[in-house]
């Protein structure tokens, strides 16, 4: 059985979910795709916005979360980290 997700795991899931939707996702979809509660997602999303990894935009009647270049780079770093952990058995 998989262990409890760490903070980094959750952030990775959120950013990967946005990327899987082409870099742009509705907040509700992000919540479902990242397996999070509403409260949990709000806290994490605010944190990601503050760190400029994502930004919130309004298009028509809908809100969207968009991954930034910095967010893209961060996902890349996380993927490298996973590869490194696998190689070194960490």
């Amino acid at each position: 059985m998989e262990g409890k997700r760490t903070r980094v795991d959750i952030i990775e899931d959120m950013l990967s979910s946005i990327l899987s939707k082409g870099g742009r996702i509705k907040p509700t979809h992000l919540m479902y795709k990242s397996n999070m509660s509403h409260v949990q997602m709000k806290v994490y999303l605010d944190d990601l916005v503050q760190k400029e990894l994502v930004k919130k935009v309004k298009e028509g009647h809908y809100d969207y979360v968009i991954i930034t270049d910095k967010g893209n780079e961060f996902v890349q770093k996380l993927k490298q980290m996973r590869e490194f952990e696998k190689a070194f058995g960490l």
């Binding site: 899987s20 890349q76 993927k79 490298q80 696998k86 190689a87 070194f88 960490l90």
Partner: protein, 235 residues
């Protein structure tokens, strides 16, 4: 008498170059691990970074000792006063002997820390191991091969751990990592027999270089795979 120089004269400088490559490879991986420790706050990353910094520091000590000795000997020859060489060497003996002590201490502590990432140690075990490491360095003063034998044992056990990891996940990079540590372990065998002929030192250094190049290639592949997986997911 403490043996400080193991290299044949024609190989002077080339060994410094080889050790500098090892130093750079170790530093690159250690810096990567430090950066990711800041993101993940995982103790394994911290210990990995610290162990690699320690081994890098040991190479730095070795480079410093060799550079000082080679420079002094070559310098005295150039000015034509070769008879003074032993005197000058004597004056730097304290630096060489203490440098050698730190080279051996940092190497063994680094290897032990690397080993401890995979085989968790109790505090009592850590104290015992540090004691035995210092004892082995003490005996290495007279019988230098004890140091290389200890390195070989540590590296062998670590290689075996990486091989088991490879068998578990079948990742190419895990296999290459196990191979690179095995090659570095192999080089220690040649260093052990340096007193028979100094050519063993050259062979040991070349094999060690191959091991570190393989480690560098593994590290580059890890970084590359991370990027590729990210791109393929993005499209």
């Amino acid at each position: 008498m403490v043996q400080v120089v193991f290299s044949p004269k024609w190989f002077w400088g080339k060994d410094i170059f080889i050790d500098s490559i090892a130093l750079l490879v170790l530093l690159s991986i250690a810096i990567f691990a430090t950066k990711h420790y800041r993101i993940k706050k995982s103790k394994n990353y911290l210990y990995l970074a610290l162990s690699l910094y320690l081994i890098a520091l040991s190479f730095f000590s070795k480079i410093l000792i060799n550079f000082t000795i080679y420079y002094q000997v070559l310098h005295t020859q150039v000015i034509g006063s070769i008879e003074y060489t032993p005197v000058i060497l004597k004056s730097s003996e304290i630096l060489a002997v203490s440098g050698l002590f730190f080279y051996r201490l940092f190497t063994l502590l680094g290897l032990f820390m690397l080993y401890s990432i995979y085989e968790k140690q109790s505090k009592a075990n850590i104290i015992l191991m540090v004691y035995f490491i210092i004892i082995s360095i003490f005996f290495s003063k007279e019988e230098y091969y004890i140091f290389y034998l200890t390195c070989f044992i540590f590296l062998g056990v670590i290689s075996n751990r990486y091989y088991r990891n490879y068998k578990k996940n079948r990742e190419n990079t895990s296999g290459m990592l196990a191979a690179s540590f095995s090659v570095i372990a192999l080089s220690q065998i040649f260093f052990m027999f340096v007193n028979f002929t100094k050519h063993f030192y050259v062979v040991g250094e070349v094999i060690q270089l191959l091991g570190y190049i393989l480690l560098l290639v593994t590290f580059i592949l890890v970084l590359k795979h991370g990027r590729e997986k990210n791109k393929s997911r993005h499209h």
